[in-house]
């Protein structure tokens, strides 16, 4: 059964800019899908529609059988840069989602503490985001997303502001997370390697207005060793070709 489904989605902003047109694809339960495409082709727009932050002007976004009209409770969103609140400590950031959902402060903090421990962030509870490295900040963002126990993760270029080494580490981390928790993931990225490493399905969008030009299946994704296998490079070539051949 499809957990995420885009049905002929289209978006025209109030100023008349058409961001995407006629975008359809689906992601099945426990699947992972990457949207890739040139800058400005409407990837963030697409993700915001699934997050319930933007209302599409055409078509429907469906999550677990229901049309998205407001932020879905079972999905967590991770943004590129501004996900964390600089005025809140690591602990406050991570517990925030739970508190907003009505959990008592004490219980929310306990749950947050457990997740921070799991992500190797214990001891940093009282730090402010600015005092952490980029990689750690992004792990805190993951901790906050995971705290609400989502079944779906929506991510907009979550690693794009990191250096190559932290980036690879966090990609491995995300891969493990995906396999362990059986999450359904929708990821936006600029990086062909990231797409091929992390997702079984790659949706290639055209330049603005974004349209699906190809859907590439990538069944080998799902283990760390893939990164150094011949098939990986083969797949990257294939994706690169369809991203470039527009």
């Amino acid at each position: 059964m499809a957990v995420l489904e885009a049905v002929r989605l289209g978006m025209i902003y109030p100023n008349g800019t058409r961001a995407i047109k006629d975008v359809s694809f689906s992601v099945e339960k426990g699947g992972s899908c990457t949207i890739i495409g040139p800058s400005g082709c409407g990837k963030t727009t697409l993700l915001f529609i699934f997050s319930g932050l933007l209302k599409s002007t055409e078509g429907k976004a469906i999550i677990e059988g229901k049309e998205v009209t407001s932020p879905p409770k079972n999905a967590a969103l991770i943004l590129q840069n501004y996900g964390l609140f600089p005025w809140k400590t690591v602990m406050e950031n991570v517990a925030l989602g739970l508190e907003i959902r009505g959990m008592k402060k004490g219980r929310a903090r306990n749950a947050a503490r457990q997740i921070l421990e799991r992500l190797g962030l214990e001891g940093f509870e009282n730090y402010y985001p600015k005092q952490l490295s980029g990689g750690m900040q992004q792990r805190v963002a993951f901790a906050r997303a995971l705290a609400i126990k989502p079944r779906i993760m929506l991510m907009d270029e979550p690693f794009s502001s990191l250096d190559a080494l932290s980036r690879e580490k966090l990609q491995n981390f995300l891969l493990e997370l995906w396999m362990k928790e059986r999450l359904t993931m929708l990821l936006v990225t600029h990086s062909v390697e990231e797409a091929v490493f992390l997702s079984k399905k790659i949706v290639v969008l055209s330049p603005r207005p974004g349209r699906v030009i190809r859907v590439i299946e990538n069944p080998m994704a799902g283990r760390k060793e893939y990164r150094s296998m011949e098939e990986f490079f083969e797949k990257c070539r294939e994706v690169r070709k369809s991203v470039g051949a527009i």
Binding site: F48, P71, K130
Partner: protein, 247 residues
């Protein structure tokens, strides 16, 4: 802790430099219009009872006006985060802000009499516009991504104000407040300089008209102390509320 110790010493050092400079100037100018700090200090202590009463009255007026202005300007400014509210507020702000509000004093006295109310109204009005302007600017400049990221957690509108809009604007509000303290005291002096027999402004003007220069300076020192303690109070508040900026 070491840093606050250092800071205290730098304040003491700066104070010493100012008083020494004053002393040297007084020595060379050698005029009754510039008494030496020791003489002023002595007079300050001798009249402490009287000065303290006037200082309390002045402090009451300033603090009351600032709190009043703050409690109205901050919510109004924060709500300007929303475009449809800003479209309503901004024209009023832009038309009314550049007026030198101090010229409204005669009008205010006509309306509210010569008591505390007219002084509080005048100071409050001026400070209100300063804080509103700063808060609105801050609210208008909040990165939408902060709000998106909160909304995606299922936040309500109230949550957005509590967890994003207010904390994001707080540093700018406190800066505006600091500027407002200076303005408020200046306006206070103006408002107290006639049609009243209380407050530091009155004390200074009365000493001036009697050519009692030493008392005049004692009043000025009291005024400076009032401003300084308000700044200090703001420092403490800022350190508590905006810990994330200092670190």
């Amino acid at each position: 802790m070491q840093r606050s110790e250092e800071k205290r010493w730098s304040y003491i050092a700066a104070g010493a430099v100012i008083i020494t400079t004053w002393q040297i100037l007084a020595y060379f100018v050698d005029s009754p219009a510039l008494p030496s700090p020791c003489v002023v200090l002595l007079s300050f202590i001798n009249q402490l009872d009287k000065i303290a009463v006037h200082m309390l009255i002045s402090a009451y007026r300033v603090v009351y006006s600032i709190l009043l202005a703050l409690s109205l300007a901050v919510p109004a400014g924060l709500f300007c985060y929303e475009g449809r509210i800003d479209r309503f507020v901004a024209p009023f702000l832009y038309l009314l802000y550049p007026i030198p509000h101090i010229v409204l004093l005669p009008l205010i006295i006509l309306l509210f009499g010569i008591g505390d109310l007219s002084k509080i109204f005048l100071i409050g009005m001026i400070v209100f516009f300063q804080i509103l302007m700063a808060t609105r600017d801050a609210a208008r400049n909040i990165d939408a991504y902060y709000v998106y990221s909160l909304l995606s957690l299922g936040a309500s509108r109230k949550d957005v104000y509590r967890h994003v809009i207010l904390p994001a604007c707080l540093p700018k509000i406190l800066t505006a407040l600091r500027i407002s303290v200076g303005t408020a005291i200046a306006v206070l002096f103006f408002a107290e300089s006639f049609a009243t027999t209380t407050g530091l402004g009155y004390l200074i003007m009365a000493a001036w008209s009697k050519a009692d220069y030493v008392s005049l300076y004692a009043g000025i020192v009291a005024m400076a102390l009032l401003g300084f303690s308000l700044y200090m109070a703001l420092e403490v508040i800022e350190r508590r509320l905006c810990r994330w900026i200092r670190q």
